[in-house]
């Protein structure tokens, strides 16, 4: 399994993501700059990390979603390559139309930086096989615009198809998102977006490793890291 991390001006969680992918897979990811129109052929997982691409101008992720690299990512996703967007990466994926819905200003109007609980709603995805259905894990969040919104008809279809992958659990919804939604995937199941930062809870130095399963699943190294 080879991974790639996308880099754009203003994204600042790329180093954490590179560290997590390297530690969990044993191989450093390739990095892809925003103007690159192609992703290497042997990449199986593309990760768009968090941060504040283009200063969050216009809407979070709006400008980044229109950069050349996004067409390359869409082409790869259409071929079945896995794509994971975390925080600003999730915002970029919804702005690019690769995931349904929108991420709006937190209902509290405040930036939240804390730990929340996540329920693994769907454990039969390429990103969550390391977990049990209904398992509650710890995960850090750090965002100002994580308030997920989607129209009711689209939401009903997503729920029926198991595309709601993570919900905030035990009353820890930090942003007012609809249905406590924390992470969603596309219909094909190869594109996942989530506001929380699993890359920041992967080893003892982080105070826990609950986030490790997402990368172990996506990188297909569950047995090796169990």
């Amino acid at each position: 399994m080879k991974s790639a991390v996308v880099q754009l001006p203003g994204l600042n969680r790329d180093r954490d993501m590179i560290a997590a992918l390297t530690k969990i897979s044993g191989k450093a990811p390739v990095t892809v700059w925003q103007t690159e129109a192609e992703i290497p052929d042997d990449v199986d997982l593309i990760v768009i990390p968090g941060g504040f691409s283009y200063g969050d101008y216009l809407r979070c992720g709006a400008i980044a979603a229109r950069m050349p690299v996004m067409q390359a990512i869409k082409d790869k996703a259409d071929k079945g390559v896995k794509v994971l967007g975390v925080c600003n990466g999730f915002q970029i994926l919804v702005e690019a139309g690769m995931l349904p819905g929108a991420l709006m200003r937190n209902s509290s109007l405040k930036f939240v930086c804390k730990e929340v609980k996540l329920e693994v709603v769907n454990a039969e995805t390429d990103f969550t096989r390391a977990y049990e259905k209904g398992q509650v894990i710890r995960c850090p969040v750090a965002h100002h615009d994580g308030n997920y919104f989607v129209d009711p008809e689209t939401l009903a279809g997503m729920e029926d198809r198991g595309e709601i992958v993570f919900r905030y659990a035990e009353g820890t919804n930090p942003n007012g998102s609809l249905g406590d939604i924390a992470g969603v995937m596309n219909r094909r199941g190869n594109v996942l977006g989530m506001m929380p930062h699993p890359e920041n809870l992967i080893e003892a130095a982080h105070g826990g490793s609950d986030g490790r399963g997402i990368f172990a699943s996506a990188l297909d190294v569950i047995a090796a890291t169990a």
């Binding site: 216009l58 709006a62 229109r66 929108a102 200003r105 937190n106 209902s107 109007l109 308030n147 129209d151």
Partner: protein
């Protein structure tokens, strides 16, 4: 209404795009502003919805082309049509 103005021999169409949240989409910023207006003593403010205004200058004098271009700009970038509506006014 003057549609195209001459700037040094160059025709320019001025346009204003207004982007607002769709009905039914919660607007926490609008709610906070509504609360602040109330605390300033402005009673009777039923609802505040916050939006965005873009003033653009487009080269050319073709109003129909300008409107078509602006619509494409709104659909592709200026508005997120999942949660926002837009209006285009030429002046």
């Amino acid at each position: 209404m003057v549609l195209a103005q001459q700037f040094g021999g160059r025709s320019v169409i001025k346009a204003r795009v207004t982007v607002t949240l769709k009905n039914g989409v919660l607007d926490p910023q609008g709610k906070a502003i509504e609360g602040a207006l109330g605390s300033l003593g402005f009673s009777g403010v039923g609802q505040v919805r916050q939006g965005k205004v873009f003033d653009l200058e487009l080269d050319g004098a073709d109003k129909a082309k300008a409107e078509a271009d602006l619509k494409a700009m709104c659909e592709k970038l200026l508005a997120n049509t999942v949660i926002e509506n837009y209006t285009i006014a030429l002046d």
